[in-house]
């Protein structure tokens, strides 16, 4: 007998008409998203499912299908979760991944144990010239403390295989601790992962978050060490044997990163923020690269209720291939009954090492109307100007429907607007 107590779902269809970015033809891609979940099913179990379908209705061949589903249940302190993902982008190119996890968390134990295994998720099927095999498996286990209210510590093991070859055997120590009695209640966190196969520290980071209530200042600082491989001086020819194939296009060595972020509430409605990260890594030609990413901006919430947002931001990037200076302006309005207005302007001036310099401008205006509770329809207009297009105009639409049904309670709506509320996207 079905004993569902909580059913929630979200469906969205979005499309656009535009001139092809690469094909010089008119394209009309349409994306269909959906998710359906059942909570508090039999014995408190849960089922989640998700799908994404993409078609170009202008008649081209491109099509993507992705389906994912998982079920989670708990019996006698043992939580079991099983999931399957199916992704297909070309005929005959379907890929299916299965994975599962068991978690033992008896209330009387001070620790929780997890074992997991299966195939890692893939977000993109590989059909290109440089193939990375999708014959991958992961298996691992972790033990996490549950007895401390202000902190969690865990030790874990992960073995990752690709093409029947062990890529890494990671032993990890992870922890986070809130210092509740220290000014600013700092939260400290860190991870260290040793690759037992190559005796190589694969990843380590240490960070802290602080919120100084009187100064209304939030801060986050983090240092990271990253070395996904230790394969000598030469790039491994077979990309399937690279741990992080894109990183290894740039570096065969380790990378160090320092990152910091500040956010201060200047008043009840205005806050300023700044983020900066510095990376240093050795290139394949043994020279070092210093990378900088940073942005600084101001967010104004007129009325202070978050229903209206104005944001102005300056950002700057610098790497071995050039630098970018840009600015963004965002204005979102959800104040008026059932109406959603979103605008965005992004201007990026870039100068590349390949002697290409230009300014790219992207603008977007979206106007939506909540036709019924939970049902939102939006039309968007884009106007872009860049090195590829002197004038790039795009017209799009977005329709979404969100609902939640709880046994004994009427059908609920309203998440449609929640999804597009400015506060819904963390900074």
């Amino acid at each position: 007998m079905v004993a569902a107590q909580d059913v929630n779902g979200s469906f969205a269809v979005l499309g656009q008409v535009r001139e092809g970015d690469q094909s010089n033809r008119t394209e009309a891609p349409v994306n269909l998203y959906g998710k359906l979940g059942v909570d508090r099913f039999l014995h408190g179990s849960e089922i989640d499912s998700y799908f994404r379908l993409e078609r170009d209705v202008a008649g081209h061949d491109d099509a993507t299908e992705l389906y994912a589903a998982s079920a989670r249940g708990t019996v006698s302190g043992v939580e079991a979760k099983l999931g399957r993902q199916f992704i297909s982008e070309v005929p005959g190119g379907a890929f299916v991944a299965d994975a599962g996890r068991l978690r033992f968390s008896p209330g009387s134990w001070p620790v929780a144990l997890s074992v997991f295994g299966g195939q890692p998720r893939f977000y993109e099927p590989t059909y290109g010239s440089e193939k990375v095999s999708q014959d991958e498996q992961i298996v691992g286990a972790s033990m996490r403390t549950t007895a401390f209210r202000d902190g969690t510590f865990s030790v874990g093991f992960l073995q990752h295989q690709r093409d029947q070859r062990t890529l890494r055997q990671l032993l990890s120590l992870t922890g986070n601790q809130v210092l509740a009695h220290v000014v600013g209640t700092p939260s400290l966190y860190g991870t260290a992962s040793l690759d037992a196969k190559t005796q190589n520290f694969d990843f380590a980071n240490l960070g802290a978050q602080v919120f100084l209530r009187q100064a209304r200042l939030s801060a986050n600082f983090e240092t990271t060490y990253y070395k996904p491989q230790d394969q000598g001086e030469r790039l491994t020819a077979d990309p399937a044997r690279r741990e992080d194939p894109i990183f290894e296009l740039f570096s065969l060595s380790q990378m160090l990163r320092f990152r910091g972020g500040l956010r201060q509430a200047l008043s009840a409605t205005i806050s300023a923020y700044a983020d900066y990260s510095y990376q240093r890594y050795e290139r394949q030609d043994a020279s070092f690269v210093n990378g900088h990413l940073g942005d600084v901006g101001v967010t104004w919430l007129p009325g202070g209720d978050g229903l209206e947002r104005v944001r102005v931001e300056y950002y700057s990037l610098e790497g071995s291939l050039g630098h970018v200076d840009g600015g963004r302006f965002l204005y979102d309005n959800f104040v008026y009954e059932r109406i959603v207005l979103r605008t965005k302007v992004d201007i990026a001036a870039y100068s590349k090492r390949s002697n290409r310099s230009a300014t790219a401008v992207g603008t977007r205006v979206g106007l939506g109307y909540e036709l019924a509770p939970g049902l939102l329809a939006e039309i968007s207009l884009e106007g872009n100007r860049n090195a590829r297009f002197a004038d790039d105009l795009r017209v799009g639409f977005y329709v979404s429907y969100d609902f939640r049904y709880r046994k004994g309670a009427p059908l609920e709506h309203g998440d449609a607007m929640q999804q597009v509320l400015p506060g819904g996207q963390p900074s």
Binding site: G44, E318, V345, N384
Partner: protein, 213 residues
């Protein structure tokens, strides 16, 4: 010049719309989402069902005064007294969290997910989600995945991490098409979280993209 004019028009449009909001009615669908922490707690309290908990309470030998504090001396004859009494009698969030959140009093069968009781999670947005959370969240999710699952279902991750080639720009702006190589060279460790090298080579090696190096 034309770009400056567009930007100025948008700024003035924003200011104009902002000024007008004072003269328009409130949005009934959105009003409920601008609550406070105490409002979210009240909603959670209303969602509580005694009949669903009676068996567990008996099994755990929990009595009424474990949650309701009868020891407060308030004259309930007066209106103010009645209100105070009702307020004082209501169990605080500690009463619920003792059994539902990880700790010494945690009952295994009690769901840990905040959404089990709290309908409106917006006022409960954790402090650490406010600063550079997009950059921080991989580390935090790795160190304590159970904390994420308190409020988020996995579809929340999928929504961003699996959206590809869509007409909406959620992760990268439209201009990213022209500046991505610079960002990749500044921090090459970020791309691999979502993309595989085929994503690069499909354009850069097959000549599908005009002008790509």
């Amino acid at each position: 010049m034309k770009r400056c004019a567009i930007a100025l028009v948008l700024v003035f449009l924003a200011l104009g719309v902002t000024a007008c909001r004072q003269f328009l009615p409130d949005n009934q669908y959105l009003r409920q989402r601008t609550g406070s922490v105490s409002q979210s707690t009240r909603e959670a309290r209303r969602a509580f069902r005694h009949d669903k908990h009676d068996a567990v309470f008996a099994e755990q030998h929990l009595t009424c005064i474990d949650c309701h504090h009868f020891d407060l001396k308030i004259d309930a004859k007066e209106a103010l007294g009645r209100a105070l009494s009702a307020h004082a009698m209501h169990p605080s969030s500690v009463a619920c969290h003792t059994c539902h959140l990880a700790g010494e009093g945690k009952i295994t069968a009690a769901p840990e997910r905040c959404l089990s009781c709290h309908e409106n999670m917006r006022p409960l947005l954790p402090e650490d989600h406010q600063v550079a959370w997009l950059q921080v969240h991989p580390s935090m999710a790795r160190s304590n995945p159970a904390r994420c699952e308190n409020c988020h279902q996995q579809t929340y991750c999928i929504d961003c991490h699996e959206r590809r080639d869509t007409v909406q720009t959620r992760m990268h702006d439209r201009n990213f098409r022209f500046t991505h190589s610079i960002e990749a060279s500044a921090d090459p460790s970020r791309c691999g979280s979502c993309h595989r090298p085929d994503y690069c080579t499909n354009c850069h090696q097959q000549g599908r993209l005009k002008g790509a190096p």
